[in-house]
């Protein structure tokens, strides 16, 4: 792309970050009173809202109930004004359905579903402003919302994207870097055990570079984990103070 350098000679990206630097992460838990668990996260200019209902009895068809574990039901939806060009349908299109399935897969790996047989856990994620890393912001927000709902999980699920440009792996891509067309990897990680819940890669990448990129994404996930952990601890501290413990 002429005129727009994704990585300058001094090592700065388009928004002034270094190659391995994350965007500013700000998160809040317990934003909605009516839901069992809710969280809001801002990663740079990407804003995501996650709400969790459950575990509760199966809604709709009882036949879909699993006899030994809980069913995790997700919905990924983008606000019509979230992208630069107006989106006509908030959900139901192919991209949203694909991301919905990815979220389901990710959280089924992390939530201890064996504790709630024949029940359902709903995770609804809404993107309010999209500036790259939509899936990752959703996973991070949904993790916080699940913790807020008190649903037991194996570990936090932290997600981050990574790209590869001029032999340097970049962590946490924004919209401009994603649209440039280079290889991108989205990684959802359980940080303590280093287990990968979801790995997705687009475009072409030589397999020699794959390890570097996954390393960069893992490190970014662990950085996100540090931030999310602090958010949870601060929130619990605030809530217990208000309850007068």
């Amino acid at each position: 792309m002429a005129g727009l350098e994704l990585l300058s000679d001094e090592g700065y990206r388009v928004d002034g970050r270094r190659a391995g630097e994350l965007r500013k992460v700000r998160a809040r838990m317990g934003v909605f009173a009516k839901a069992d668990g809710s969280a809001y996260i801002e990663q740079g200019n990407t804003k995501a809202l996650a709400v969790v209902y459950g575990p509760h009895e199966m809604r709709g068809s009882r036949s879909k109930a699993l006899h030994d574990r809980a069913l995790v039901n997700c919905q990924y939806s983008m606000a019509t004004f979230s992208t630069g060009e107006r989106k006509r349908r908030p959900h139901g299109d192919r991209k949203s359905s694909e991301l919905t399935l990815h979220l389901k897969q990710t959280f089924e790996a992390a939530i201890l579903t064996q504790l709630y047989p024949r029940s359902q856990i709903d995770i609804y994620v809404q993107i309010l402003q999209a500036d790259g890393g939509n899936y990752c912001a959703c996973v991070n927000a949904a993790t916080l919302a699940t913790i807020d709902a008190g649903i037991p999980m194996r570990d936090y699920v932290c997600a981050s994207s990574a790209g590869f440009i001029e032999d340097t792996p970049l962590a946490d891509l924004n919209y401009v870097e994603e649209a440039a067309g280079g290889p991108q990897v989205a990684l959802a990680l359980l940080p303590k055990s280093d287990q990968i819940a979801l790995l997705e890669m687009n475009s072409r990448l030589h397999e020699d570079h794959l390890e570097q990129v996954i390393e960069a994404a893992s490190k970014a996930c662990k950085d996100v984990y540090a931030v999310l952990d602090q958010v949870v601890r601060d929130h619990v501290h605030e809530v217990t103070t208000l309850l007068g413990e």
Partner: protein, 289 residues
């Protein structure tokens, strides 16, 4: 609509309280809950607003795009509304569950904005019959805590007040073909005049009295409600009766008078807040949530 299940005893408690002009949270029959309005929350839009009315949370984004004027009004631009009942509010809205409510809200919004004096659509025209501004107003329902229509109308008015449409110039060259040039300065824009945009006031009839700004519990006790669209001068532009119960004409006239009174007060407070927020400019604190 999202609803709560109330026992008979709770309903009786609410109805008796209202007969004595005392609601469950201590408000009078004509008082609104605390309303929080914040504009310019989403950066990708031409204008946006977020309104929190008790437990009801609405986010509105306005995007201005160029389009062709409609055949019957070639010298005017137009507004398009879209409502998304997000599953965040209640699991019943998942998938296509929220479409019924969304359609009802969209139709009400179209009816209110169909009157010519609401928004000056002639200023949205760039080239008669060829180009005009189309304002896509997208409403996102984040949480349902009763009194949706009021909150949505306040949010739409605030978002339209916040909308900045870039100024364009039409250049004609020798062959007669027109080119549209966008001004280079990002702050050079036209603002909309929202003085005549009306707000919706919903009055719910509970027992023999009517209340403004009903919570979910109060809505479950009310048999019928009247939806009024009131302008800042106290003129009624639209009226609709909701609910299964019936209203007798006496009550309707009483409710109309209350609606006009409450509407004028609501408009003055809203305009004051919007002007105050505007005057703070970049120094204001963002509560963005």
């Amino acid at each position: 609509m999202a609803s709560v299940v109330l026992s008979e005893a709770e309903k009786v408690y609410i109805v008796h309280g209202i007969q004595a002009d005392l609601r469950v949270d201590g408000r009078g029959c004509e008082d609104y809950r605390c309303i929080e309005v914040e504009t310019d929350v989403v950066s990708n839009t031409s204008g946006s607003a977020r309104v929190k009315l008790g437990h009801t949370d609405i986010l509105v984004g306005v995007k201005a795009e160029m389009g062709t004027p409609k055949l019957e009004n070639p010298n005017e631009g137009y507004l398009e509304f879209f409502v998304d009942c997000s599953a965040n509010a209640t699991p019943e809205f998942e998938g296509r569950g929220g479409e019924e409510l969304a359609t009802e809200i969209v139709n009400t919004l179209y009816r209110i904005f169909s009157s010519e004096s609401t928004i000056d659509v002639k200023s949205l025209c760039i080239n008669p019959r060829e180009h005009c501004w189309v304002l896509y107003v997208d409403v996102l329902l984040l949480e349902c805590g009763g009194n949706l229509f009021d909150a949505i109308s306040i949010a739409v008015k605030a978002a339209l007040f916040n909308t900045r449409i870039p100024k364009v110039r039409v250049l004609e060259d020798e062959e007669g073909s027109k080119e549209i040039e966008l001004s280079d300065d990002p702050y050079d824009c036209i603002r909309l005049n929202v003085e005549n945009v009306s707000c919706i006031i919903t009055l719910s009839k509970i027992g023999c009295r009517h209340v403004v700004d009903a919570t979910l519990q109060e809505e479950a006790c009310s048999l019928a409600s009247l939806l009024l669209s009131v302008t800042s001068r106290g003129t009624l532009t639209c009226m609709k009766k909701l609910g299964n119960g019936s209203l007798d004409p006496e009550s309707i006239f009483e409710m109309m008078e209350t609606g006009k009174r409450v509407g004028k007060k609501l408009h003055t407070s809203l305009q004051k807040i919007l002007d105050k927020e505007e005057s703070l400019g970049t120094t204001r604190q963002k509560v963005s949530d």
